[in-house]
C-alpha cells in the first residue's frame, strides 16, 4: 500500500492514477493526525509519501502545534520524525518527503531534515510528468525492498542510503 499524505489529494490525482495503473494500491490521507494514527498500526506499508506543508486536525485534538511546525510550514517533517520515532524500520526507504516548497530557506530546511532522518526529499516540480513519477516510485519501492531483505538476511547494510 502506498500512503499519499496531502490535504489536497485532488491536485495529485494524476500521480495517484498513474500509481494505480502501475498496480499499486494508493490510500490518500488528508491530514497529519489521521496519517500518524493510521501509519503507527499499518502493516502493509510499501511507501509513505508525505507533503511537507501539511494540514492537521483541529487544535484541540491535534498532536501538532504552531511552534514545532513553524506555523504548519513544516508539519510533514514533524510527522515523519514522529512516525520514525515509533517505527524506525520505516527509515529504510519507506518514507519520502514530497514538497512544493519554492522558498530557498524552506528547501534547505527540508533537505537538512531529510538527511537527519535518513529519508529522501523529493521536489514536486521535478516530477511534472506523472509517468516519470510513477517510474521513480516503482524504482524506489524495489530498492527499498531489496535493502530490507539484505538487511534482514545478512545485516550487510546498516542504513538506508538515499539515492
Amino acid at each position: 500500500m502506498i500512503y499519499f499524505i496531502d490535504e489536497d489529494v485532488h491536485q495529485l490525482r494524476a500521480y495517484i492514477t498513474e500509481l494505480e495503473i502501475l498496480g499499486y494500491d494508493v490510500t490518500p490521507l488528508q491530514n497529519a493526525d489521521i496519517a500518524f494514527s493510521t501509519l503507527i498500526g499499518a502493516d502493509d506499508i510499501e511507501l509513505v509519501i508525505i507533503d511537507v506543508m501539511l494540514a492537521t486536525a483541529e487544535a484541540a485534538s491535534s498532536r501538532f502545534d504552531r511552534e514545532s511546525t513553524q506555523d504548519f510550514l513544516k508539519t510533514g517533517i514533524v510527522l515523519a520524525r514522529d512516525i520514525l520515532e515509533q517505527r524506525p524500520e520505516l527509515a529504510r526507504g519507506r518514507l519520502v518527503l514530497f514538497s512544493m516548497a519554492a522558498q530557498s530557506w524552506l528547501i534547505k530546511d527540508i533537505d537538512h531534515a531529510a538527511k537527519k532522518l535518513n529519508i529522501e526529499a523529493w521536489k514536486k516540480k521535478d516530477y511534472p510528468s506523472p509517468f516519470r513519477f510513477g517510474a521513480a516510485v516503482r524504482k524506489h519501492i524495489i530498492r527499498a525492498s531489496t535493502v530490507h531483505v539484505e538487511k534482514e538476511g545478512t545485516e550487510g547494510l546498516t542504513s538506508w542510503e538515499p539515492t
Partner: protein
C-alpha cells in the same frame, strides 16, 4: 591643564559661560570632562567631579573627575546621603568646610596630601526645559552635582559666587549634550538600518554600535516570540557561558528583571546588580558589573491605540568613562535612560516594520504556494493526457504554455520575497553550458504562446540565426538562471511591442568579446526614454510608457536579470546603438571562476 591660581579668574562671567556652552555641544560622554576643564581653567580649584543624578535609584553616577587618586576603589556611585548628595536634597549649593569629618568622602589621601579642607557642591538645575532630550514628564529639575574643591580655603567665596551663578546653566547645557546624543545615534541607527538586509543583521549592528561607539560595555537585545510566548535573544555583544542563541530565552512567568521591564514597560536601572549571584544569562564584561539598564522596546504609537505593546527588551551593562587614562565602568544615569529609550524606540519601529512586512510576505508566500499547487495539479494532468495520448490534440495549445509561464512568474515572486526579507536566494551554480541547447532552444517554443497570452503582435520567427548560435562557444553559467534572464528580456520585448504592429521585431545576435560572450537582445518596441534609462535596472522601477502599456508589471524582471548576471560574474545592460529601438546586451563569461 592644571588648576589655575586666583589671578586666572576672568573679569567677564560671559567668557566662562561661552566656553561651557561650547563644551555642551559635545556628546554627553565628553561634555562633563570638557566642562570640568573649563572650570579648572577659570576657577582656583585643586580637584573636581561631575556626577549625574539618578532619581529612581537615588544615587549619583560619576561622569568625569580630575585630581583624585582612589586606591583600589572600584565603584563610582554615591548615595543620596553622601556629601555631594546633600546638594541634591537641599536643591542649592552646599559648602562643606571640614571634609575630613564629612561623611562618605572617599579620597582621604588627597585631603591629606593637598591639605584640602573645603568642598563646594553645586546641584545641576534645569530651569528652562526646551530641549528634545529633557521631557518635563520624565526629568526632574535636578539632574546632577558638580563638586569643586578649592586650592586654598581662601578661594572658597569666589567659587561659591560662581557656583550660584552656574547652577542652572550647567544643568540645562548638559541637557543639550544629551540632545546631541540622540541626534548622533539616530544618524548611526539609520545607517545601520539601511545597511542591513535582515532584522537579525540590524539588531546585531545595534549592539555592536552601542559597544563600539557609545561607551556601553555590553548590550543584548531580546524580542518577544509570539508563537512560544518567550523573550528570545536576538543579538548580543557576548554572554558568559557557552550558549546557542536558540537556548537563550526567558519565559514570561519567570522572576527576572528583564521580564519585569518587558511586562511593566518601564526601564529598570540596576545599580551594582548582584555581583556574586549571577543572573540566568549575563553579559560578558571585563571587570565588575556596576550597572545594568533594561529598557522595554515598545511598538510605535498608533492613532487610536492607547496602550503600546511590548516587543522586547534592550539590556545594557556598564557605562564606561575615561578617567586618568583608564576606562572605568560606572552606573547608568538619567541621561542613559533617555538615550537607551530613544534607541529602543528606533529599534521598536524597525522591528514593527519588519514584522509587518514579514507577515505580509508570509501571506504572499502562502498564496503563491496555493496557486502553485493548483497550477501544478493542472500541469501534471495535462502531462498525463499527453503521456496517455488522450484528447491532448483537442486542447488549446496555449494551455500547455500558460502553466509553465505562470509557474515561472510565481517563482519570480518568491525570489522577490526572499530578497525583500534578506534571505539567501537560490544558489547559482556555474558550469559549462551550451547557449543554444541549454538555454535558447528551451525558451523558443514558449515565445509564440506567451505573445498570444500577452496579446502582443506575434514575433517574427526565427528571431535568431540558428546556425550561428549552434556554433557559439561554451559559456560558464547556470542554465536555469540564464533561461530566466533571456525569458525576461524576450517577454519584455513582447510586452512593450509597438501597438498595432503586424509583428514584434526581436533579434538575437552574439559576438565574442575577450573572455565573454555578448548576446544582444534587440527589439523594435516602444523603447526606453533617455530620462528613464539610468533607473531601468532598479528594483521595482517601471518606466512611465511601460506602466501605461502594462500597469500590472512589477518592475522585477530587469532587476532580476541584473542580479543574476552579476552573480554569474557577467552583466546585462542597455546597449546604446543599432537600428533597433531597444537593445540589451547580456555579457556571459566563458571562464569558470571569477574574472
Amino acid at each position: 591643564m592644571t588648576g589655575a591660581g586666583p589671578l586666572a579668574i576672568p573679569d567677564s562671567f560671559l567668557k566662562i559661560v561661552n566656553r561651557i556652552m561650547d563644551a555642551s555641544h559635545l556628546l554627553s560622554d565628553q561634555a562633563p570632562a570638557n566642562t570640568l576643564d573649563v572650570l579648572r581653567e577659570f576657577l582656583p580649584i585643586r580637584a573636581c567631579s561631575f556626577y549625574s543624578y539618578n532619581w529612581d535609584a537615588e544615587s549619583l553616577s560619576l561622569r568625569a573627575q580630575y585630581g583624585f587618586d582612589y586606591d583600589k576603589y572600584q565603584s563610582f556611585t554615591l548615595g543620596i546621603k553622601s556629601t555631594a548628595g546633600r546638594a541634591i536634597e537641599a536643591g542649592e549649593v552646599v559648602v562643606e568646610y571640614d571634609l575630613v569629618k564629612a561623611a562618605d568622602f572617599r579620597d582621604t589621601k588627597l585631603i591629606k596630601s593637598a591639605g584640602l579642607t573645603t568642598g563646594v557642591f553645586v546641584p545641576l538645575r534645569v530651569d528652562k526645559v526646551n530641549t528634545n532630550a529633557i521631557d518635563p514628564q520624565k526629568v526632574q529639575k535636578l539632574v546632577g552635582v558638580v563638586c569643586l574643591y578649592p586650592t586654598l580655603a581662601s578661594d572658597t567665596p569666589t567659587i561659591i559666587e560662581h557656583a550660584n551663578a552656574l547652577m542652572s546653566l550647567l544643568g540645562t547645557l548638559y541637557g543639550y549634550s544629551v540632545d546631541n546624543d540622540k541626534l548622533s545615534v539616530r544618524r548611526n541607527l539609520v545607517d545601520r538600518c539601511l545597511g542591513s538586509r535582515a532584522l537579525s543583521g540590524f539588531l546585531t549592528n545595534v549592539t555592536k554600535l552601542l559597544k563600539d561607539q557609545w561607551r556601553i560595555e555590553a548590550a543584548s537585545l531580546f524580542l518577544w516570540d509570539e508563537r512560544s510566548d518567550v523573550l528570545r535573544l536576538q543579538a548580543t555583544t557576548g554572554l558568559i557561558g557557552n550558549y546557542r542563541k536558540a537556548q537563550v530565552l526567558y519565559r514570561l512567568d519567570e522572576d527576572s528583571r528583564t521580564i519585569k521591564a518587558f511586562k511593566d514597560k518601564i526601564p529598570v536601572n540596576l545599580i551594582r546588580p548582584d555581583r556574586q549571584a549571577k543572573g540566568k544569562f549575563v553579559e560578558q564584561v571585563a571587570g565588575t558589573r556596576e550597572s545594568a539598564l533594561l529598557v522595554p522596546i515598545l511598538e510605535p504609537p498608533a492613532p487610536g491605540v492607547a496602550e503600546r505593546r511590548s516587543l522586547g527588551v534592550l539590556r545594557l551593562v556598564n557605562r564606561l568613562i575615561h578617567r586618568e587614562c583608564r576606562t572605568e565602568p560606572v552606573a547608568f544615569g538619567w541621561e542613559d535612560i533617555l538615550f537607551a529609550e530613544f534607541v529602543a524606540e528606533f529599534v521598536g519601529i524597525v522591528c514593527f516594520i519588519y514584522a509587518k512586512s514579514a507577515g505580509s510576505a508570509e501571506d504572499a508566500e502562502r498564496a503563491v504556494h496555493g496557486v502553485s499547487r493548483n497550477l501544478f495539479g493542472l500541469q501534471t494532468k495535462l502531462e498525463q493526457l499527453k503521456e496517455r495520448g488522450q484528447l491532448e490534440s483537442r486542447l488549446d495549445p496555449r494551455l500547455r504554455y500558460i502553466v509553465p509561464n505562470a509557474t515561472a512568474q510565481l517563482e519570480a515572486i518568491t525570489w522577490q520575497i526572499d530578497r525583500a526579507l534578506g534571505r539567501e536566494g537560490r544558489s547559482i551554480e556555474r558550469q559549462p553550458i551550451n547557449l543554444w541547447g541549454d538555454v535558447l532552444a528551451k525558451i523558443t517554443p514558449s515565445i509564440k504562446p506567451i505573445a498570444e497570452v500577452l496579446n502582443a503582435p506575434p514575433p517574427r520567427m526565427p528571431f535568431y540565426d540558428y546556425d550561428s548560435f549552434v556554433n557559439s562557444p561554451v559559456v560558464f553559467g547556470d542554465a536555469d538562471a540564464l533561461i530566466t534572464v533571456f525569458r525576461n528580456l524576450i517577454e519584455n520585448a513582447l510586452k512593450y511591442a509597438k501597438p498595432n504592429a503586424e509583428y514584434t521585431e526581436i533579434n538575437l545576435r552574439w559576438l565574442q568579446a575577450d573572455q565573454e560572450i555578448w548576446v544582444f537582445v534587440a527589439d523594435n518596441g516602444i523603447g526606453v526614454s533617455k530620462v528613464e534609462q539610468p533607473y531601468l535596472f532598479r528594483e521595482g522601477f517601471q518606466g512611465e510608457d511601460a506602466m501605461r502599456r502594462c500597469p500590472s508589471g512589477s518592475g522585477i524582471g530587469l532587476h532580476q536579470c541584473k542580479t543574476i548576471m552579476q552573480q554569474l560574474d557577467g552583466d546585462v545592460d542597455l546597449y546604446p546603438a543599432g537600428e533597433y529601438r531597444t537593445t540589451f546586451v547580456v555579457k556571459i563569461p566563458t571562464w569558470g571562476i571569477g574574472k
